[in-house]
Amino acid sequence: EPEVTQTPSHQVTQMGQEVILRCVPISNHLYFYWYRQILGQKVEFLVSFYNNEISEKSEIFDDQFSVERPDGSNFTLKIRSTKLEDSAMYFCASSVSGSYNSPLHFGNGTRLTVT
């Protein structure tokens, strides 16, 4: 069964550094998402992306964050200047459509540790 793949599985970075988290969504999916989970807290919506633009974003997704689909297969999340509080598990997801009937398929996550 096709999967959403995320790389790397674990990323350690120093505060203030830029980091790029990579995702390869399922090939026929059109909607892409990033969620994150700070340790011990809820999984939180960050952003959704469709047709090469952001369709919705949360208040967490400030100017330090950006998303891009640089080619036909990758979907990336960039954090420009990481802070300690950005340490979390970041999940990429994709779906065929944006409908509630179209389930999200999640990747295994990237654990980001900011030191």
Binding site: K42, S95, L104, G107
Partner: protein, 116 residues
């Protein structure tokens, strides 16, 4: 804003025993409800969802959940668990009127540990 409460952070249970994982949500409007499971070192996988119709929904791996609008609950149940059900379970909700498509609000998760 929408919120989801999963009161039990951990639920230990013996194999073949029944289990119920609790989920309550806050909303005064119509919602869609979901349960996701995360096995160790894997991503989140959809177990089941309630969109409309029968309040008892059946999902994969023998799980079911019941939507109770008056109690704003969506508890997950399984009559007889297996060791392979050990995982983290997340309840999620989206507000039909204000939630866009797949913008989900998740609970903090319940770790189900099945013991022999």
């Amino acid at each position: 804003a929408q919120s989801v409460t999963q009161l039990d952070s951990q639920v230990p249970v013996f194999e073949e025993a029944p289990v119920e994982l609790r989920c309550n949500y806050s909303s005064s409007v119509s919602v869609y409800l979901f349960w996701y499971v995360q096995y160790p070192n894997q991503g989140l996988q959809l177990l089941l969802k309630y969109l409309s119709g029968s309040t008892l929904v059946k999902g994969i791996n023998g799980f079911e959940a019941e939507f109770n609008k008056s109690q704003t609950s969506f508890h997950l149940r399984k009559p007889s668990v297996h060791i392979s059900d050990t995982a983290e379970y997340f309840c999620a909700v989206t507000d039909i009127l204000t939630g866009g498509g797949n913008k989900l609000t998740f609970g903090t998760g319940t770790q189900l540990k099945v013991e022999l």
